[in-house]
Amino acid sequence: MCLAIPCKVVEIFEEDGERYAIAEYKGVRQKAKLTLLEDVKVGDYILIHTGYAIEVLSEEDAKLSLEAWEELFEALSKEDNK
């Protein structure tokens, strides 16, 4: 239900006064309404849930998370050696 898959935006267009994106995941293309998001560009990764894009995924934050976890583990190893 709340399974939202990260898909890459390949096209943005308007239809009946509403904004849509075509987004792709492993070759499968799907259409998603962009009503809930303001700044979406072609090439962004979006989370799609029941036909609506709900968030833009941040590649930078993904990288930062990996770094933060490394730091966390480092800190935990130190705590452990106390």
Binding site: C2, L3, E18, L36, Y52, I54, A62, S65, L72, F73
Partner: protein, 358 residues
């Protein structure tokens, strides 16, 4: 997109979970999303956890927590001649007498749709009165809100919703208020993309329990367990955001405004729970013309449930599917007795799918 499942981080987190666990007695962590249960079963995460660290599924499945009465109401409406549009999982949930699928085989007009937008289009194209079964937590509520606003602006007058939306944090509060022995929560990442972290700050402070908002890759679940165990070892309680790549501190403001414009909180029962204060959302008065309960006089119906089904206890985190005498033989995905066996997000369905691994 970079692959977040770094082998190094996964190995390290399993190592650290083991180390932290030696400093702890028994720890019970609850997650609140069927998609987390999927990841945990599919990747065998429970197998790598030390014996004293347990992760249990909670009420994180919108189809599962929908009450029998709501399903019976959908069936009643289809029998009355409405076109009932629903997400796939609801289609097979047994009502008191039958499921929507069985009713369809008798000729009722039931449509499976991917989202509410498809349901509106059926009404527009075919001119029939369409009722959409609006289920879901905060992730789905803004899509209903957006569509209701759009239907209003287009002047469509043959579209209604059977509103079954629920809000997750009040259910967590209910469990904590009941004095549960859960020492940490893995909070649902996609609900938090909408709500942000705020609802969890309040709960965390009041009940002094660690809460980590987590993503849906195996590494996300493992790292969130590390974060929770670390807090317990350090005698801390705070909200941490493990899923930064998708969850912003303040959530999705456009979605929050839409929910607030169209809905207001309401006390509702959940399957397995009594009435939960603010556990649901109802359409505001300005939008009640889209509420099927307002439009149609729906009679009181008596719920008939199988007393051997333990969906309720499973949703409250008190039991597992393997504790149920119906599980696997009498109740399975082809012949489900309770909602938890029907939904792809239901604990029984997931346990059945991966039963050889459990």
């Amino acid at each position: 997109m970079i692959d977040i499942n770094s082998r190094r981080i996964i190995k390290k987190s399993i190592e650290i979970i083991r180390k932290l666990s030696t400093k702890l007695d028994r720890v019970k962590i609850m997650h609140l999303c069927g998609s987390h249960e999927h990841v945990i079963c599919r990747y065998g995460i429970r197998d790598v956890l030390p014996e004293n660290i347990t992760v249990i599924p909670g009420p994180g499945c919108p189809v599962c927590v929908t009450t029998q009465r709501e399903i019976d109401t959908a069936i009643y409406l289809a029998e009355e001649g409405y076109t009932v549009a629903t997400l796939g999982d609801m289609y097979r949930v047994p009502g008191s007498k039958k499921s929507l699928m069985e009713l369809q085989s008798e000729g009722a007009d039931i449509r499976i749709v991917y989202g509410i937008g498809d349901a509106v289009r059926i009404g527009e194209k075919e001119g029939k009165d369409v009722v959409f079964i609006a289920i879901g937590f905060e992730t789905t509520a803004p899509t209903t809100a957006a569509e209701v606003v759009s239907v209003r602006s287009k002047g469509i007058d043959n579209f209604y919703i059977l509103n079954c939306h629920r809000q997750m944090p009040p259910a967590v509060e209910f469990l904590l208020e009941e004095g549960s022995n859960i020492q940490g929560f893995i909070c649902p990442g996609h609900v938090a993309t909408i709500t942000g972290l705020k609802p969890y700050y309040e709960l965390c402070k009041r009940y002094r329990v660690p809460m980590v908002v987590a993503g849906f890759e195996p590494v996300d679940v493992l790292v969130s367990i590390v974060m929770i165990l670390r807090q317990i070892v350090n005698r801390e309680y705070k909200v941490e955001n493990e899923y930064r790549r998708a969850v912003k501190e303040g959530g999705n403001i456009i979605a929050q405004r839409l929910i607030d414009k169209v809905f207001e909180p309401v006390d509702v029962p959940w399957r397995g729970f009594p009435v939960i204060k603010n556990g649901g959302l109802k359409l505001r008065e300005e939008y009640r013309e889209f509420d099927i309960y307002y439009h149609e006089d729906i009679p009181e119906m008596k719920e008939i449930v199988n007393n051997n089904c333990i969906c309720g206890e499973i949703l409250r985190g008190e039991k597992l599917p393997t504790d149920c005498k119906l599980f696997g033989r009498y109740c399975n995905p082809l012949n489900p007795v309770g909602s938890c066996m029907v939904s792809e997000e239901g604990t029984c369905n997931i346990f059945y799918k991966y039963r050889k691994l459990i």
